[in-house]
């Protein structure tokens, strides 16, 4: 495998402003390939904005973002997805017009190599590729424990299952870097435990890099190998969970001074 220990994501001096508000301020992140890492910080620290910058929802006003040594600053979200970054949302955004199965199939088939014309003419190639995608969908649903829910409409799923479905959908686009925006928000303690197992399992089984934003400290401390702490748009600390926990800047940010 090439460049096993290399850096998959560079965020270099990135700044994002909304009018007068500086949401992200000269932030730097260097994420190594294969890591299971996290971004933590108080509310309004700029964590989700950081995800929106990496996934192309926003374009930074200053700085550069590189993925696999390729500049992705200014690329559109769909281009970035095709390069290998996928994400979930803090406020779950599933497609309510599609059932559980088709939510995942949408993401899995997006790259299917048949054209618009081939699809409407219904050429044999189209149905063959559709069948191939179908088995992938089953795999990802199984991975997050949603087998058996294929025909259910996402809005009828329990909240915890909706979170899992979002993860399955993000995985179906075959990312090398998966961004999880508060995957444990709104889950009860049992569900959080279960989710931690799923994330660990995905990380190992699919051999991908995962970066997550989380408020559940227990979860972050137990599953993340590396952390970035953000406050007022800036990265104030970086390191393994233990050292970050002792960092005076971090204590100040969380406890106030």
């Amino acid at each position: 495998m090439k460049n096993e220990q290399g850096t998959i994501l560079h965020v270099d001096n990135v700044t994002m402003r909304f009018g007068g508000v500086v949401a992200v301020n000269g932030a730097n992140i260097r994420l190594r390939r294969g890591r299971l890492a996290g971004i933590i910080g108080p509310n309004g620290a700029g964590k989700t904005t950081m995800f929106n910058l990496i996934s192309g929802v926003y374009t930074p006003v200053e700085g550069e973002i590189r993925f696999k040594d390729q500049a992705i600053t200014g690329k559109s979200p769909d281009e970035i997805t095709h390069l290998g970054i996928s994400r979930t949302f803090q406020n779950i955004r599933l497609f309510e017009g599609l059932n559980v199965y088709d939510n995942v199939k949408m993401a899995a088939s997006c790259r299917s190599e048949y054209s618009f014309l081939e699809a409407i003419l219904g050429l044999p190639k189209v149905w063959k590729l559709e069948r191939e995608v179908a088995s992938e969908v089953e795999y990802y649903l199984d991975l997050v424990g949603l087998s058996g829910y294929e025909k259910v409409w996402p809005e009828n799923l329990a909240y915890g299952l909706q979170r899992k479905l979002e993860i399955a959908r993000a995985l179906a686009s075959k990312p090398e870097l998966l961004l999880l925006d508060e995957p444990a928000a709104g889950l009860n303690p049992t569900e959080v435990q279960e989710l931690m197992e799923i994330i660990r399992h995905i990380h190992k089984e699919l051999d991908i890099t995962i970066l997550l934003i989380e408020h559940h400290m227990d979860m972050v401390m137990s599953i993340c190998e590396e952390l970035w702490v953000m406050n007022f748009g800036a990265v104030i600390a970086n390191g393994d969970p233990e050292s970050v926990q002792q960092d005076p800047e971090v204590l100040k940010a969380y406890l106030g001074s």
Binding site: S55, R93, S109
Partner: protein, 293 residues
């Protein structure tokens, strides 16, 4: 079959072809467009003028209509599809009015508000039926492949759709162009099903009636759109409702649908071969059970 019934069926079939285009655009992709009638006008005039001015046969006129619709659709789509949906609806309304007025203005070529006379009514019911079936298969293929999933994703949440890898603008443009082709073909058939066309045939009311049909049948259901298309085109004809009452009835239908069945009459239900097989099999088992009992 009486010639009256035949002609009613021909017009119903033509309307259904236009409905298919509207179903793709508004039903699956969530793009409310008042511009479908503009493409119908282009198709109708291309076929009609092709015949009366240049002596071109219907098939060639139909193809010319498709090509012009695609070119016009490419320009209109590129300009309007980046707008928010409500502005897109307004812009397409403007487009269909412009087409109508262009047809009136260039009267030396188009006949202006006098219209075009002398078109042979050579469209037959089998021809309309075949074209409708081809359209139906295309629409069905669209719905069950990634195209349909991408459309529904865009309709539901454009940002999430983009983040999941869909080039939203490109997809919308493709759907817009496909629906323009459906409109254009319906228009060409309409011209050759009558002896005479004029710009006011392509009033925006015609777009509205397509919207009502798709909305009534269910924006998620092709079965619903086609059934509603059949019902809402055939019934007024058969029951001899005056055209002046049609809009009142349509308005009433929209209000009642919105209150009692906001997902449309058919919701997400689709007729499928397997379901029908299952139904017949169960029926067989039930009657066999009765026979034993």
């Amino acid at each position: 079959m009486s010639s009256y019934l035949t002609s009613v069926l021909i017009f119903t079939g033509i309307n259904l072809i236009a409905v298919l285009g509207m179903f793709l655009l508004m039903g699956l992709t969530g793009l409310l467009s008042f511009g479908q009638v503009g493409f119908m006008a282009i198709g109708a005039y291309a076929a009609a003028l092709g015949y009366t001015k240049f002596g071109l046969p219907f098939g060639i006129g139909l193809l010319i209509g498709i090509v012009i619709s695609l070119l016009v659709g490419l320009v209109i789509g590129t300009v309007t599809l980046k707008l928010k949906n409500d502005y897109f609806a307004l812009a397409t309304y403007g487009f269909s009015e412009v087409i109508k007025n262009v047809l009136i203005y260039f009267s030396s070529f188009t006949g202006g508000s006098m219209g075009v006379f002398g078109i042979p009514a050579s469209v037959t019911l089998p021809l309309v039926a075949v074209i409708f079936l081809v359209g139906l298969v295309i629409t069905r293929n669209f719905k069950v492949t990634k195209l349909g999933r991408n459309s529904l994703a865009i309709r539901n949440d454009e940002l999430a759709a983009q983040v999941m890898g869909i080039n939203v603008f490109k997809h919308k443009l493709s759907v817009f162009l496909l629906s323009a082709v459906f409109g254009s073909v319906a228009g060409s058939l309409l011209a050759f099903a009558t002896y005479y066309i004029e710009p006011n045939l392509f009033d925006w009311n015609r777009s509205i009636s397509l919207i009502v049909i798709v909305f009534f049948g269910g924006i998620n259901s092709l079965t619903g759109a086609v059934t509603a298309g059949l019902a809402l085109t055939l019934l007024p004809e058969v029951l001899h409702f005056g055209a002046e009452w049609r809009m009142v009835i349509y308005t009433f239908i929209i209000i009642v649908t919105m209150i009692f069945r906001p997902t449309g009459l058919f919701g997400r239900w689709e007729i499928s071969g397997r379901q029908m097989m299952d139904w017949f099999r169960n029926r067989g088992q039930r009657s066999a059970a009765r026979g034993r009992g």
